[in-house]
């Protein structure tokens, strides 16, 4: 059953491929012919009209002729390439490759979907937790799992695509671009985690204030001065921040955010330096080298000048 399905699939793909080949050959043939007004004689026969010959002589600039030749060669190569792969024995292998594209897409989609589901699960758990009371001046219950999961998903599922070895002339540039994308993604994850953690005292302060207000209302001690509430709120907020900022969790998250920022900056500058090399401007790297040389020279001159002052007799 499966075998039959595969054969049908292959047949349909084969016919589709053949159709595509035909239409693309026609297209490129037409395109090449369409060049004829600009490159007269390109597609004309050798015994063309004398007018056309004259016209060719008039436009006979070397560059244009060269371009004509190149286009002609390119067109021939392309046509022969298409004819070669159109042969049934070659077409089969091409189709196998084409069939693997949807497989790759399916795999990518599946991974994205799995990751999204995992995240959604985490979010749902988190939403369920919001109903529970938050503990004042205690940051043990910080929900960092979401961010950990986000980072793990990225590192396990997506980062590897950016680490595929680059090939060819531009491999180093491509690697730098990939590195920048990678570091940018990591920075976003780290920054989100940091901002989330940094905002938790606000959430906790609101909860504590609510409790306090309830207590005050119960005891009929409601203030008529709004400044009193603000002062109360800011004092509680400050207390929460003091507890959070001293916690090792905060220091760790802040350290990760700083590290991610520095790596992103290094990757960005590395790529930018590559881009700037194509322009007649010095890069930071060039200027730093120059500055270092000047710095060392200045130091040397100062030392020598001091030595000279010490050795020369006093006036």
């Amino acid at each position: 059953m499966m075998m039959e399905q595969n054969k049908d699939k292959e047949k349909s793909a084969e016919s589709l491929m053949a159709e595509w080949m035909k239409s693309s050959m026609n297209f490129w043939g037409d395109m090449a012919k369409a060049q004829s007004p600009f490159f007269p004689g390109q597609f004309a026969k050798s015994d063309d009209t004398p007018d056309a010959e004259k016209e060719r002589e008039q436009t006979g600039k070397n560059a244009a002729r060269q371009a004509q030749k190149t286009l002609e060669t390119g067109s021939k190569i392309f046509q022969s390439f298409i004819s070669t792969i159109s042969k049934p024995e070659n077409l089969e292998s091409v189709l196998k490759g084409i069939d693997s594209v949807p497989d790759l897409m399916t795999m990518l989609t599946r991974q994205s979907w799995d990751s999204y589901s995992e995240l959604q699960k985490q979010w749902m758990e988190r939403i369920a937790k919001t109903g529970k009371q938050t503990k004042a001046y205690n940051f043990d219950d910080i929900d960092q799992e979401t961010f950990k999961t986000l980072r793990e998903i990225y590192e396990n599922e997506f980062q590897k695509f950016l680490n595929i070895p680059s090939l060819g002339l531009t491999r180093f540039h491509q690697e730098k671009v990939n590195r920048l994308i990678d570091k940018s993604n990591l920075l976003h994850v780290a920054l989100n985690e940091f901002l989330y953690l940094f905002s938790t005292p606000l959430e906790k302060t609101t909860a504590v204030m609510q409790e306090k207000l309830e207590e005050m209302a119960e005891a009929e001690e409601i203030h008529d001065d709004f400044n009193a509430y603000y002062n109360m709120w800011v004092k509680i907020l400050e207390g929460h921040y003091m507890t959070l900022l001293k916690s090792p969790e905060y220091t760790q998250v802040m350290d990760e955010a700083i590290a991610a920022l520095l790596q992103y900056k290094a990757a960005k500058e590395d790529m930018l330096c590559d881009v700037l090399r194509n322009f007649p401007v010095p890069t930071n790297r060039d200027m730093d080298e120059l500055s270092k040389e000047i710095y060392l020279l200045k130091k040397k001159v100062r030392t020598l000048s001091r030595k000279l002052d010490e050795t020369s007799p006093a006036e």
Binding site: V234, E238, D255, A259, N284, D309, A314
Partner: protein
């Protein structure tokens, strides 16, 4: 459950009053903000007497000089020395001038990317040393008084250890020397994060990034409450002027050269080498026992950046016999700008320096008397004589050095005087 009774009518009445107040305040505030405001910093006149690279040496001359020895003030690389001359009535510099002290102050300037390789060694052994030699030469003195602030205090401690022969009295204010403490958040963060790499990544450590770090030390007060306070007092011109001056100063932060920043975090915050006398500058060990001159160490009880634990160990480790710790009931900046500290801080330093000057004069008179007595057949004091001889030899060496410094300074001044005069004229 009974329904709590809330005086809704009272709340509504208060709300109406508050709305009226806000409306009237907004009207007055717009008048204040649109009128000309006096928000200039550092208005006390000075002269730039020396320029080395980006570093400038400012000279403040009192109306009547009452102290023989001038005072060099070394500020931190973070923020600007203008804090010591924030506004008339709140100026440490002006108080010193009122006490007849000639004040020199180092302005570190704004480092650019080309300064990224400048180390602590360069700051201490080149810039500070050149400034001190210049002052010694100008006044014909072998030693001068040195006062350091925060990181500038740490630099002054390092300098006094490496060049004790040039420092008469040392004053350290809110100076971190012991970094092994978890009381201050800055100490915890610097020890446990990779912040030291920031300078290298950015070329220099950006001032704005440091300011962000300082704001994060107390976000509730520094990012919220402070500005709410401003909105509440926007109709008060004097308040607005003071607030804007402070804002100007706080966010005027030069970058810190990458190499200096890295070394300060690595050697001080992470390894705590300074207080252990294990720190090295230009291949020389900074030995605290070599600090033998009188030392006055002032710090703030509520300093959140440099807590007392970071300052108070210094006097225990130095070789000075004449040393004093003073802990004021204030914070890191309040020590210089709060109205309460205006009467405590600078006058105390001026008095302390005057006392040491008087003491020295009295000692000199006594020793002169003893020598006369000995010559006239009075009882000799051999130990004292030896030490006096040593002192004499030292003074001679000092004079030679002054002469050499004079020569250097003369060479420099020929080219620099023109610069200086034009800068002063511009000022």
């Amino acid at each position: 459950m009974t329904q709590p009774k809330i005086a809704v009518d009272l709340i509504l009445k208060k709300l109406t009053e508050s709305t009226e107040q806000v409306k009237s305040r907004a009207q007055k505030a717009s008048e204040v903000l649109l009128s000309p405001l006096k928000t200039d910093l550092a208005t006390t006149p000075y002269e730039v007497v020396l320029e080395i690279d980006r570093v400038r040496l400012k000279y403040y001359r009192p109306e009547k000089i009452k102290h023989k020895i001038p005072l060099l003030v070394v500020y931190a690389l973070i923020n600007r020395e203008t804090m010591l001359d924030l506004q008339p009535g709140r100026s440490v510099v002006q108080t010193f001038l009122d006490h007849g002290i000639e004040v020199y102050m180092i302005d570190w300037g704004y480092p650019t990317r080309k300064d990224r390789f400048v180390t602590i060694d360069d700051h201490v052994n080149i810039y500070m040393d050149d400034c001190i030699d210049f002052i010694r030469n100008q006044h014909g003195l072998p030693k001068i008084n040195l006062m350091g602030i925060c990181m500038g205090g740490a630099f002054s401690v390092m300098y006094s250890s490496l060049h004790p022969e040039k420092i008469k009295n040392l004053v350290t204010t809110v100076t971190p020397t012991n970094f092994d403490t978890d009381t201050g958040l800055l100490h915890v963060w610097m020890k446990n994060t990779c912040a030291l790499n920031m300078g290298d990544a950015y070329g220099n450590m950006p001032g704005d990034l440091m300011n962000l770090g300082f704001l994060l030390l107390n976000p509730a007060r520094l990012m919220i409450d402070k500005y709410i306070g401003f909105f509440e007092h926007m109709d008060n011109k004097a308040f607005v002027e003071n607030f804007v001056r402070m804002e100007k100063w706080i966010f005027d932060s030069p970058d810190v050269p990458a190499a200096t920043f890295r070394q300060f975090i690595e050697d001080c915050y992470k390894k705590n080498l300074l207080i252990q006398s294990r720190m090295e500058l230009g291949g020389r060990r900074v030995a605290l026992e070599k600090i033998t001159m009188p030392l006055l160490n002032i710090y703030g009880k509520y300093d959140h950046l440099v807590p007392p634990e970071a300052c108070e160990l210094l006097t225990r480790h130095v070789g000075s016999k004449d040393k004093e710790d003073i802990c004021l009931n204030t914070g890191h900046i309040g020590i210089y700008v709060s109205s309460k500290c205006q009467e405590l801080f600078a006058p105390k330093i001026a008095g302390w320096l005057k006392e040491r000057e008087k003491k020295k004069t009295a000692e000199k008179k006594a020793s002169a008397k003893k020598t006369t007595d000995r010559k006239t057949g009075g009882k000799a004091a051999p130990a004292k004589v030896v030490s006096e001889k040593k002192a004499g030899a030292k003074a001679a060496t000092g004079k030679k050095k002054v002469a050499s410094a004079k020569k250097t300074a003369t060479r420099k001044s020929a080219t620099e005087k023109t610069k200086t005069r034009s800068a002063a004229a511009k000022k």
